[in-house]
Structures are given as C-alpha cells and as structure tokens.
Symmetry: C2
Subunit: 201 residues, 2 copies
C-alpha cells in the first residue's frame, strides 16, 4: 500500500487509491500539518498539478482516508451491537473486529488516531471517533446490567481504557514483521481485556 | 504549567522552565515538526532572539522536555523494580507510579508519545522509551515465573498492551476537567490491567 511505484500505462501516474495510500504514509511519517502538497508531489515523483488532477486539496485526501477507517470501524461495531448475546460476548466481538480493522487499515487508522483537531475535517472525524467510544461504553454498560461484566468501574472509562490498549497496536505492531500473527495479537488483547494479568483474582 | 503569562520583572520575559512549558504546549497542539521558532515566538509574545537567549534551538527545547518525562518514568520504574515482592506487586507499583507521572507531567509525556523518530534526539528518546517497555516486560516475566501473573501471553506483549492502555490517558484524561480524580483513574487502570472486565473468568 505504501509503494511509490505504480503500474505505468500511457504515461507515469497513479490511480486515486494508490495516490491516497502514498499520501497517508507521508502524513504518518511527518505529521499531517507538517506535510505540504509539495512534499506529497516529491514523494509521489509527480508534479503538484498531477495531484490536483485527482484531488482538490490535501484536506480532501485526509477526508478520504479518515472516511475509510471510520466507515470500517463503525460497520464492524454495528455488527457486534446487533448480536443477540450477553454484553460480554458483544464486547468480545466488537474488540476482535476492531483489532482486525486496525490491522487491515493500519495506515488510515494511524492517521485517525494522531489527529489534533486543527480543522473542520479533523474535528468531524474526532466526533465520529468519540461516538464509537460511546457505543463501546453502551455495550459495556449492557454487560454490567446483564451481569456478564464487572460493575466496579464506569462503563465509558472502561471503554476508553480498553480501546486505548487496542489502539496502541498501531504504534508497535507491524503485520508480517512482528513476532505475533494477527490472530495471536487479537487473542492476547482479548485475554488481557477480559481476564487481566493476575494469575488469581 | 501551560500558562502564557509569566511574572514580569525588569522587562517582559520568561524563565527557562516556563518558556519550555509554553513551547511543549505548542508542539502538542501543532506537532513538533510543524512548529517553527517563529510560531513559538508568536505564542510567547517575544522575539525569536529572546528565545535564543534561553536555548540554542527548537531541538534543545524538545530534548529538555523529553528528558523531564523520561527521567521521571525511569526513576519510578527503578523504585518498583527494587521492591522485594511478587512480580504482580511490582507490576502494580510500576503501573500506579507510571500513571502518576503521566498525570503530573502530561504535556511532556504527550510529546514523548507522539514522537515520530525523525531526528537523533527523537530516536534517542524512543530508544529510552523502548527500554522502559522492556523493563516492564521483565517485571511481567518475573511474575510469570513466581506464579503471580498469567503465563498464557508473552511478557513483552503484555507489557506493550498494558502500557498502551496507560498511555492512552494523555489522549482523553484532563486532570481537573474529567469526571475522575487521578486516584480513581489510577485504580480503574489497575483493576482493568490486573483483573480484566469479565464478571467471572
């Protein structure tokens, strides 16, 4: 996804999705604010006008990438919410699917998690992210009510902390490079979130 | 710590530690790479040469702030390592103290956690951060050996995930604004890390 060479047809160039992927990798390396259209053009090896052939602004690229991440996260969460099971089971499903989305769409999710909220596109994405956290909180709350989850902590705080653990993987997990396979990582996260680390409670 | 007004003596100005605090807040708002000395001067309401009176470069400010965070994190970890107790108890002590440092030095730790490794100062700080994770991993490993912690997951992966949960608080916890007091947050993190969220294992 982050390759800088693209199949060449009539003349050198990129399709829109490859262009976005290269730009997202550049945003993640330097920070979105610090990345100029000139830097993106240099990274792509094309002129700025070649980029403007595909998108109208740097912000449009950001918006597309964030949309991909948020659409996927919201879709898997909706599936988990609709399960006719205990809160604990729905939380497990939501966490597993979220880990899978993070691994599959790591560049876009990394961009999302590092937003600072300095523009309307960013604040809108951060609002969608907060809504996702709230929906996790409601799953936790339903598990507290049906007795499947602990009731000693506020549900929204549990949601934030467990998602904090999940989200941290973009900082250190590299599929194909790290020792753990995605499925093993998913299992580790589940076991820690659900059972904790103490040998005996 | 992030106030932009300082006590005025002979002429308007900042002491060195206030200057660093204002600069760290600016780095966190815009990203370190995207923050110029001109932006820092504008934020401080002084000339660039007034900043150069205190520090030789933007990077020196970064290095001072990262040093504050890393020194504090390493010091509390050393205390936990020296406890003559089970691995679980040492992990508990290390986590509690780390949460306290994160809350007390939130701006500097936020800066540390968002580094991209684009300069020697950054890569050196990231190496110290990795060493801290390794030391947490060794505490977990000792707990697995003495039977106080679960052995179903690799110790370093446990360390990374639990620290991911802890570190996430810089993204959403605001002492004095958030509903939870620092001590309550510390307790929530401990309970989740140690016991998980399931009502019954």
């Amino acid at each position: 996804m982050t390759t800088t060479t693209a199949p060449r047809r009539g003349r050198p160039g990129y399709d829109r999705s490859t262009l976005v992927a290269v730009c997202v990798a550049t945003f993640n390396r330097h920070g979105y604010d610090a990345t100029s259209m000139g830097m993106l053009a240099a990274e792509l090896g094309v002129s700025k006008s070649a980029i403007y052939h595909h998108v109208s602004s740097k912000e449009e690229i950001l918006e597309m990438a964030l949309g991909q991440a948020l659409d996927a996260l919201e879709a898997v969460l909706a599936e988990a919410e609709q399960l006719d099971e205990s809160g604990a089971k729905r939380l497990e499903k939501a966490l597993r699917s979220t880990v899978q989305v993070l691994i599959e769409q790591m560049p876009q999710v990394t961009l999302l998690l590092r937003l600072r909220g300095n523009s309307p596109v960013e604040t809108a994405a951060l609002q969608r992210r907060r809504d996702i956290t709230s929906r996790f909180g409601r799953i936790v709350e339903s598990g507290q009510k049906d007795g499947s989850l602990v009731t000693s902590q506020p549900p929204r705080r549990i949601a934030r902390l467990v998602l904090g653990m999940v989200n941290s993987i973009v900082d250190w997990y590299r599929p194909g490079e790290s020792a753990a396979e995605p499925a093993q990582l998913e299992e580790s996260i589940l076991r820690l979130a659900l059972d904790g680390v103490l040998a005996e409670r």
